[in-house]
Subunit: 127 residues, 2 copies
């Protein structure tokens, strides 16, 4: 196959690998935070790092836990309940997979630079 042909194959830009659960902005924040902190992060640390509200963070963590991407640990610090969140090994792998797909998006985008278009003689839509 001619290399330039791959531009035309069906699904070339479908980005199937962009895992829905990870792709959501808030959860991407959470997972990226956790990826950089293998020892885990406390609920409030995550809240700050990701600029999320309590309820929002709680819901997304539940979704991530459900999907076995994140593991939650309950404990106490200074007689206060504390929740520690950590990436699971599965979550780590899924995230790395996700990122490798992201890299393709970025690579596709670099193709944009330095292109200029030519008009096709069609009239602009009126509706």
């Amino acid at each position: 196959m001619n290399p330039s042909d791959c531009e035309k194959i069906a699904g070339r830009y479908a980005y199937d690998g962009l895992d829905r659960i990870i792709h959501e902005k808030a959860r991407l924040s959470i997972i990226a935070s956790l990826a950089g902190h293998s020892e885990g992060l406390l609920f409030n640390e995550l809240k700050e790092l990701c600029s999320l509200t309590d309820g929002n963070l709680s819901r997304h963590l539940a979704i991530l836990q459900e999907a076995d991407l994140v593991q939650m640990w309950k404990g106490t610090r200074n007689n206060r309940p504390q929740t520690l969140a950590r990436l699971t090994e599965h979550g780590r792998r899924r995230f790395l997979e996700y990122v490798s797909r992201l890299e393709r998006v970025v690579a596709d985008a670099s193709r944009l630079t330095g292109q200029s278009g030519a008009g096709a003689g069609l009239r602009p839509r009126t509706t």
Copy 2:
């Protein structure tokens, strides 16, 4: 500020710049396709490249047009109506901006490689 401190600042992983309109998977597909084809793409070409249904593509194109990221041109080929979609200059800029934020996500992720965690002596949650 110590470089290692930036890991802790509030909002460090909020990824505010991840434009909601572009971030959506289907629209990211569409925009990336268009970014690589400055001459524009026909409705059916986009449909194929992004593996989207007619209705789906139509809705997302309308949203992108509304946001002035994509421009639509109506014309005819072989006595058949044809719609050509193209990135606007504004859309091109917003996409490049978006991609530069994506690159940060990818950069953050590279930090993941080669880290191993240590347990914190907390018990696994039971609920």
